[in-house]
């Protein structure tokens, strides 16, 4: 099978974004099968965007925000994201998409090793899940 997953990640530029930068500076390798987009806050990312990503062909969506409770640059963006994606994951099942295809990870900026490790884990997990079938067995 020549299928390989391509994931998209939205990173809070103040925490996970800095961690991704440090991962680069420290040459910590991780799977290239993810495109990381920096946003001001993970609270900007709406469930609509995540559903949109799956519709466009994403095999998984990674969201990196600030470690609760107190590290969010904008006070509470991480809580907003947490609540929104908690609910979205519950809905995902009904769409026939595995909720595990959304992953939220929380960071303080020095945790670049955690970023690399969680991305690798996530890519592996998506590889195991395979392409999105919408619940229809092939």
């Amino acid at each position: 099978m020549d299928w390989e997953p391509w994931l998209i990640g939205f990173l809070s530029k103040w925490t996970a974004g800095i961690a991704a930068e440090s991962a680069g500076v420290n040459r910590v390798r991780y799977s290239p099968n993810i495109v990381l987009i920096n946003v001001p806050c993970c609270g900007l990312i709406s469930p609509i965007h995540v559903v949109d990503a799956f519709l466009q062909g994403a095999d998984g969506v990674y969201i990196g925000g600030a470690l609760p409770p107190a590290n969010c640059h904008y006070k509470v963006g991480n809580f907003k994201a947490f609540k929104r994606f908690y609910l979205l994951k519950k809905l995902m099942k009904q769409f026939g998409i595995e909720p595990e295809r959304i992953r939220l990870e929380w960071f303080v900026s020095p945790q670049y090793r955690k970023l690399a490790k969680t991305i690798d884990d996530f890519v592996d997990e998506i590889k195991k899940l395979g392409p999105i079938t919408g619940g229809v067995e092939e």
Partner: protein, 652 residues
């Protein structure tokens, strides 16, 4: 038409940097350029060895002019390094910086995917595609202007904080200096002499302390801590908690009768436990402010001191105060602490009295110290004839501090020298892993100490320190040069404990700055922006950023002051206008965004949501809350996020 540039149709240029081989060795740059040319809206794409160089920037400027570009995407290193560089180049060609984006294909791609060139190239193409999609819909907004409060806050009154405060104050900027202890002076005032010149530390620092104390532009708050910071660059609002001193520094005449009368004796932290002090005390004779202070925690409120004070300076009912100040810039200089020696039980610190840390040894050398400069065994006060120094006590050890503390090799050499000058027949043994003496005049100083008879450098680690029945310390270790076991009977063992940041987590959270994995404050870039933090208007100086000696701390403090001055000499600064915006056509006035905004920046007006452009921080948290999609973050709209995702998956 704006700035003479036509924005009606996207005309985007993509510029891909090789970064020497940093990017080009992993990512197929030519292929990225070829693929970029196919992206919608792109009319020009090229690559260059060093895009940030003068020639590289000129390529961009020429292309904007010749190809009539109205959007620029630079795929190179991280924005924190070169966002400004290219923004200025783009602006010099007449294009707004809001129609420019730099994306990292180095930190985010080539440096982490060096094991997979094919996919790294594919990923780089996707990254560029996403940036092009984003920039295509970027609009040019008028910048928002804000007033700058011409006042600075310096946190920490050690040598770095004092230097920064004086530099700013001498330039005419009012400074608020906040110090946690009852006096300024920091760690340097505890030192005996400084390497490599052997200047008396107190003689170097006390004139500076006095200058800070009486400078008309410096407002000094001792016994104080910053408890809250809000606002942004040019306009911070800070809250300071000032603990009660209970002695009026204006009235106190330093007669010391109060301390004589005080019945409470406690350990003196200034001498690191080598002496006792009273609950009312003067930290040290040259303290600034020159005033006694009551230790709130240990004072029993017996009132003896009040009775004897000849000038009625003591007020036991003084309460803590919360002070609020507005400042334009903040310099963080909270310095360092020593690693906790009790975490190294094999060396017996905290178990045996004669095992001390380097700052305690400094106190034994100082003529005004608890032993009046005599070097003695702490346990029985007998003269110490044989001293063992253990370098790298915790440092360069993955189980403790993986990093090098930088200054220990030099101060151990200095302490050995001072010991020998006071005890000519004494012996000093120094256990080391490597001796690192990078610095002007440092290697020469070390060589001089190495040649002193009675100073013996032993390369190797100490295995164990214990006390025999006579109260002598026995140090065993291995000399790794000869392979022999070494056993030394010693009067004192001095641990050169590592430097750890003295930076409260709560303060980090309030300032919103980031730290590295050890807790040191993180600079934006080690070489190009060494004193700036991710937060505009917040600068760092001294050992809070990483281990450094006094010379470096002072240099960095002046650098931070100079950066703060560049901000504080302006009347107003421009804020990026990337805030939330409401489309009145779609807004139905439900108010969900109003409830979501953590800054109360959205209000309902005439049945529509309205964003206060000064209060809005541009987080975008309100965007997902809107059921009609009426509220959007400028230049990161829902449509743009959709286009970004589409672009990432358009490359298959």
């Amino acid at each position: 038409m704006l700035d003479g540039i036509d924005y009606s149709e996207p005309r985007i240029g993509v510029f891909v940097c090789h970064c020497g081989t940093n990017i080009a060795a992993v990512v197929d740059v030519k292929k990225v350029v070829e693929e970029a040319k196919k992206l919608p809206g792109v009319v020009h794409a090229e690559d260059y060895m060093y895009m940030c160089s003068g020639i590289g920037q000129q390529l961009i400027i020429n292309a904007i002019r010749e190809k009539k570009l109205n959007g620029v995407v630079v795929a190179a290193c991280t924005p924190s390094l070169h966002y400004e560089t290219f923004a200025r180049a783009v602006e010099s060609a007449g294009l707004s910086r809001q129609r420019y984006k730099i994306v990292s294909i180095r930190e985010y791609c080539s440096w982490v995917h060096f094991h997979d060139r094919k996919r790294a190239t594919e990923k780089a193409i996707r990254i560029v595609a996403a940036a092009v999609a984003e920039i295509r819909d970027n609009k040019v907004y008028e910048p928002i202007r804000r007033k700058v409060i011409k006042k600075a806050l310096v946190i920490g009154g050690g040598i770095a904080g004092m230097t920064a405060a004086l530099d700013l104050a001498n330039a005419g900027i009012p400074v608020i200096l906040v110090e946690k202890e009852p006096t300024i002076g920091g760690k340097m005032i505890q030192l005996s002499v400084t390497f490599p010149t052997l200047d008396c530390a107190q003689c170097t620092i006390t004139p500076r302390m006095a200058e800070v104390g009486k400078h008309p532009n410096i407002k000094l708050y001792t016994l104080s801590e910053v408890i809250d910071v809000s606002g942004h660059i040019g306009n911070f609002h800070v809250k300071i908690r000032k603990k009660p001193r209970m002695v009026d520094p204006e009235e106190c005449r330093l007669c010391g009768w109060c301390a004589n009368a005080c019945p409470v004796e406690v350990i003196n932290e200034f001498t690191r436990g080598l002496s006792k002090r009273k609950a009312i005390y003067l930290p040290f004779p040259q303290a600034v402010p020159a005033s006694f202070v009551i230790d709130e925690e240990h004072c029993t409120r017996c009132g003896m001191c009040v009775k004897v004070c000849p000038v009625n300076a003591i007020n036991l009912d003084e309460k803590e105060e919360i002070i609020e100040e507005d400042v334009g810039a903040i310099i963080l200089a909270t310095g360092y602490d020593l690693y906790d020696g009790r975490k190294l039980p094999e060396y017996g610190y905290g178990i045996y009295k004669n095992v001390i840390d380097s700052l305690q040894f400094e106190q034994l050398i100082v003529p005004s110290g608890p032993t009046k400069g005599r070097i003695v065994r702490i346990s029985d006060g007998k003269p110490a004839k044989r001293v063992v120094f253990i370098q790298c006590a915790g440092q360069r050890d993955v189980n403790h501090l993986p990093y090098c503390s930088k200054i220990c090799c030099m101060y151990v050499a200095k302490e050995a020298l001072m010991f020998k000058s006071k005890v000519p027949d004494g012996e000093a043994y120094i256990f080391y892993i490597d001796v690192r003496t990078a610095g002007k005049g440092y290697e020469e100083f070390y060589k001089k100490v190495q040649e002193i008879p009675g100073v013996k450098y032993i390369r190797g680690r100490v295995g164990k320190v214990w006390e025999d029945e006579n109260g002598d310390l026995i140090v065993t270790g291995i000399d790794t040069l000869t392979g022999e076991t070494v056993k030394i009977r010693a009067d004192l063992v001095v641990l050169a404990l590592g430097m750890i940041p003295n930076l409260d987590k709560r303060l980090v959270e309030k300032l919103k700055i980031s730290t590295d994995e050890y807790g040191f404050a993180q600079e934006v870039h080690p070489k190009l922006k060494p004193v700036e933090t991710e937060i505009g208007g917040v600068y760092i100086a001294g050992a809070v950023q990483g281990p450094k000696d006094i010379s470096e701390s002072v240099a960095q403090a002046s650098a931070a002051a100079s950066k703060a001055l560049q901000l504080l000499t302006k009347d107003e600064i421009e804020k990026e206008p990337l805030i939330a915006e409401v489309d009145r056509e779609r807004c139905d006035g439900c108010g969900l965004c109003v409830a979501t905004c953590p800054y109360s920046a959205i209000k309902l007006e005439d049945g529509y949501a309205r964003v206060d452009e000064i209060a809005c921080e541009g987080c975008g948290m309100c965007v997902p809350s809107c059921p009609t999609g009426a509220i959007n973050l400028r230049n990161m709209t829902n449509k743009q996020i959709h286009e970004i995702i589409k672009a990432v998956y358009g490359v298959r």
